[in-house]
């Protein structure tokens, strides 16, 4: 595997974002399958994506391009503008050890913030990133996580049937999740994990990481759903959630009609809603009614994996300055319990989180 020369820069900015209240996956890839599913076409990749939800569940997104090698700064800025629009980001950052005058001049017109080494040091100091005990910027810790990400096939060997099943989920999480329409992700994510739930073991570090990655995405889907339900109105959460998940009123009606016809044709009585939807609606309802706590779920999940699962700590409070937002812990546990239940996964996959 080739060394990522910008990794340190990405991780430093990730730590900055964590201190600013963001959950921030790095190396977010966009790709799609063209035609029959034989070849994946890579579209582009983003160095750091920051996601944060405010106490009324409105999303705030940050995109960041980190480059230390030789590239054309203006070209990157124009590209970053496009990526920023794609993700609906509120702010785009361009990180370089040194930034030329041309780039600095054009950046404000493109709505991009430029950050060089000096700027980054100043931001880190102001946000007191050194006080964060979670070594989110530690390259070794990150590489350990990267080592566990994906199936482990020795050179020359063929992947087993189990590994091939798992690979589909890695592919979905790594490449497709950020590309497909967000409203489709929730049920699709659940379906993917239903397929592999029986293969996952809480004793296998790879499986645990995969389960936590799924859990973070599940929480993200629920928060995005909460945002849309807030926009529709919280007076009928159940109906508005279904409207969102099925792609809007027209698409919902089409699906209902499709199922009516299907049932007529097959002489069956298959409901449109999957059996897991009831549990998901209940959880989303709790999230929507506790938005202040819900807004912190993603960061708490990120911290739980890094601080408790990877580093073996049992008390999460040092990561958050000694005081935890108990509602966020309760909701994060709730998300894990529901994710396990709707996918058929064992709750022990999240034993660290459930012990909090």
């Amino acid at each position: 595997m080739s060394r990522d020369h910008d990794l340190s820069l990405k991780l430093r900015f990730r730590r900055v974002l964590f201190q600013m209240g963001y959950y921030s996956p790095i190396n977010v890839q966009l790709s799609e399958y063209i035609g029959p599913q034989t070849k994946r076409e890579s579209l582009t990749d983003l160095d750091v994506l920051g996601l944060k939800f405010d106490p009324v569940l409105s999303p705030h997104r940050v995109v960041c391009d980190c480059k230390s090698g030789s590239v054309s700064d203006p070209n990157r800025l124009f590209w970053l503008r496009g990526v920023s629009d794609y993700f609906g980001a509120n702010v785009a950052y361009f990180l370089r050890p040194k930034i030329g005058g041309h780039a600095r001049a054009i950046a404000p017109k493109l709505g991009v913030r430029t950050v060089d080494d000096k700027d980054l040091l100043r931001i880190e100091k102001e946000l007191r990133v050194d006080s964060l005990p979670l070594p989110i910027h530690d390259v070794n810790l990150h590489e350990r996580k990267q080592y566990l990400w994906n199936i482990d096939v020795p050179p020359g060997a063929k992947p087993t049937a189990r590994q091939l099943e798992l690979k589909k989920v890695y592919t979905y999480l790594s490449y497709e999740y950020w590309y497909i329409d967000q409203h489709r992700n929730l049920l699709r994510l659940v379906a993917h994990f239903q397929e592999i739930a029986h293969l996952l073991s809480p004793m296998d570090e790879r499986d645990v990481l995969l389960a936590y990655a799924g859990l973070e995405r599940f929480a993200h889907c629920l928060l995005e759903t909460g945002n849309v339900v807030y926009a529709f109105g919280v007076s009928d959460i159940s109906r508005n959630m279904r409207l969102y998940l099925y792609g809007g009123p027209l698409a919902l009606r089409e699906r209902e009609e499709f199922f009516e016809l299907l049932n007529k044709l097959a002489g069956a009585n298959i409901p449109l809603d999957p059996p897991c939807l009831g549990d998901i609606l209940e959880l989303a309802n709790r999230i929507i009614h506790n938005p202040y706590e819900a807004a912190e779920i993603l960061r708490y999940l990120e911290a739980t994996y890094g601080w408790c699962v990877q580093l073996g700590n049992r008390d999460l409070s040092p990561v958050f300055g000694g005081s935890l937002l108990m509602g966020a812990i309760v909701l994060a546990r709730d998300v894990a319990i529901t994710f396990a239940r709707v996918t058929g996964m064992r709750e022990e996959m999240f034993s660290h989180l459930l012990s909090l």
Binding site: N285, R286, M326, G327, R333
Partner: protein, 418 residues
Amino acid sequence: MDELSIGLRAQDFHEGLRETKAFGPKEAYFEKTLRIGKAAVLAMHLRGLLYVDDYTALTFAAAQLGIGGSELPVILRELEEVDFVRVKRPKGEIERVDIRVPEFRTGYEELGTRLKALKPSEIEQAGMQVLQDLIQVPQREADLIQSLGLGSAEYSILRDIMRDGQLLQVETISGEKTAFTPLVVDNDPLTYLRWCDRFPLEVATSLKVLTKNQGLPMSDPQVSSNLALNDAIQTGVLMPVEVDGATGIRRFLFAPRGGLTCEERVVLDKARAILACVRYGERFAAGRQIFYPRRILERLRDFKKFKHGHPDLLTQYSLLTLKGIGRPMDEGGGQWNFEILDTEDNMKALGIAIDMLEIGEIPTAKIDLGAQKALLGPGGYMGPLPTRTRLAGSITGSPQTRAEIIKQLSAIGRGMKT
């Protein structure tokens, strides 16, 4: 009996018997039913909370609901079994209770399933079946005894317990001893029984129609063509709620509900008035028709008024103005909005109205505001709870029941029973 009914009846047993003192047969034969009934009533009060980390406050709230401090861990374990709570006990002591009580379904099915899994005693099963049957229609006591297939000692225990819990009453009608449950009697029990006597075949289906369609207009064919219901209205068994709105006076019927205290009765009357006004908008609006009554009720509960006013609202909700539940708001240009007063009783009434709309039965009529305060208050117990005084009543064992108690005690004393 289906699981939903089992869950509901278990709660009825707890509600009925919570004010009675410990009594051997009650504790021995109804232990599982009461345990699930207590779990149901606690779950109902925990619904909507995210977690409780003040165990003292939880203990106060539970006590208010008739759940003793030593029973609370057992009841919480039952709620864990149905995954309505997750209890954190790091060193064996309860530190935090995370709440997962469902809101889009009643949760009684899960509790009913749990009670079935606990394998309730023969008397418990019979008790729930009797209550379920009597909710639908009164029965001659002789028929009831025969259908249960219990021995006379077991039946007398059952009857004594249910009678003192105000779940079962026996009156003589047309020379026959007739058993009924006060839970379905709004007004005078004798009037109700005479009505049942006149329409023995129609009562069950008529009450089912009302339970399934709470707030049914009297002009609806299900009422106008139903002789039994018309008779019940004329004789005062059913008391319609009248709304004088934009298209004239309309009357709405509700399934009778008894076994309530005076305070609970007041709240139920408010709930019926609210639902009647919403039904008016659904069936008889002059202008804007209501298509989603639940959303209207939730809107009032969550925001206390409507998003937009319209001319009909002034008269459609005039009954609520008369009852002091809310007030009309002039928005100018002939547009009226309606504001519901944000009081505990009114909010509780809205919750009951939603239950009536969704499940027909109204277990939330028993929501205890004192217990809710104990859970929501930042410091747990804040002084005497503002609820009615309750005095524990004793269950009066009949001679047969007392004989059975002595028999059981003798067997234990002789070492014939462990």
